[in-house]
Amino acid sequence: MASRAHVIVRALVFAAAVSVSTAPAWADQRSASKAQVEFGIKVAQNGLWKEATYRWEKAVEMDPTYAAAWNNLAIGYEHEGKFDEARQAYDKAVTLDPKNLLIRQNYDLFKEINDRQKRRNDR
């Protein structure tokens, strides 16, 4: 009985240790990624889309679970006419945050243009 309690305590201690050691790392990744995203937004608002796209590429590299970064990256690719990359980035953003209506709206607008381009090429 005592040994069983001992095992449980050890497991709890181990879990706590893991969460303590990984939480700051995760938080660091997200905050570093967020800094890139915010800088990207600033430069995009000033029309520097190449730089913005570069920043968002960095952001998703740092934190591949950051849906907003994927959304912004998709917009950056769209602006550069890289439709395949944009579609992949939007897919990722929607998968990570399926309930986000703003991401869905962006994706729908993109699809409309992408479909038009495809129709033109097929003609």
Binding site: N71, L102, I113, Q117, R120
Partner: protein, 277 residues
């Protein structure tokens, strides 16, 4: 501190806190749609002329050449060659005539071209083919299509203008008349003067025009066709409305121009997207 200044400070603080909390930013974007054709090998473009037909009210050859040249001047990177508009229908008629009388057609350059009489009707002309010698229908136009496949003819024109990209084709601009049920929104006012808009179906006589341009892009270096595209647009008005043919022509060409320009140059579609934080 007055009440007004307190209100100003409070609203400024509120605005600052709201903007600090904003997690999205709407931005305008321009999405580039790439050109259908790679025209990087050409620096100059010659809108040579079109075989046109349909109504006599508009010289569709001349108007189309003028319109395309002005659009290409302002919306493409190619230098537009200013040259006499080719009387393509006459040249093609010559070719048809030559092939009817002496077997295979002989390619003819623009410089050799002489205005000729309207094309004689072939015996037993198909239904839908005009009998006055003018181009009225698509079938009339089809008789002249062979000129676009005449590689030697286009190569010669290309040499004359230092190997540009040549734009040519056919334009059929025809009057239309139709009748049928049309759904229109009609304003209605109830006893209290409240306005409502109700869709109503009504039988209407309508008239207007249809345009079918076929744009053919030819390599001036080889005379070969690089790309061709046919588009059809139609506009119909109330039968009582008197719209000049030239106005309808420009109304219809306005719809067609983006497609034409999109073949040669990258087009940008303006829109907005939402960036997220």
């Amino acid at each position: 501190m007055t009440g007004r200044s307190v209100a100003t400070i409070v609203s400024a603080v509120l605005l600052a806190s709201v903007s600090a909390c904003t997690n999205f930013f709407e931005v305008p974007i321009e999405t580039p749609i790439s050109a259908k054709m790679d025209v990087s090998a050409f620096r100059r473009v010659l809108v040579a002329g079109f075989i046109s037909g349909g109504t006599d009210d508009v010289d569709a050859n001349l108007e189309t050449v003028r319109l395309l040249r002005s659009q290409l001047r302002s919306k493409s990177g190619l230098r537009v060659i200013e040259a006499e508009v080719l009387p393509l229908a006459e040249l093609a008629a010559d070719k048809v005539k030559a092939s009817n009388t002496s077997g295979p057609a002989v390619p003819q350059g623009a410089a050799d071209a002489q205005p000729v009489a309207p094309v004689p009707q072939l015996p037993g002309a198909a239904p839908g083919v005009s009998t006055d010698g003018k181009i009225r229908t698509q079938k009339d136009l089809d008789k002249y299509q062979s000129i676009f496949a005449d590689v030697a003819f286009w190569k010669k024109i290309g040499e004359e203008y230092e190997n540009p990209l040549i734009v040519t084709g056919t334009v059929l601009f025809t009057p239309q008349q139709t009748s049928g049920f049309v759904t229109r929104n009609v304003e209605q006012y109830d006893q209290l003067g409240r306005r409502t808009v109700v869709p109503m179906r009504a039988y209407m006589e309508r008239k207007g025009f249809a345009i079918t341009p076929k744009f053919i892009f030819i390599d001036g270096r080889t005379g070969a066709t690089l790309h061709s595209e046919t588009i059809t647009e139609q506009v119909l008005y109330n039968a009582q409305q008197n719209t000049p043919a030239l106005s309808s022509y420009f109304e219809l060409m306005d719809k067609i121009l983006p497609t034409f320009l999109g073949t040669l140059s990258t087009q940008k579609i303006r829109g907005t997207r939402v960036l997220l934080r």
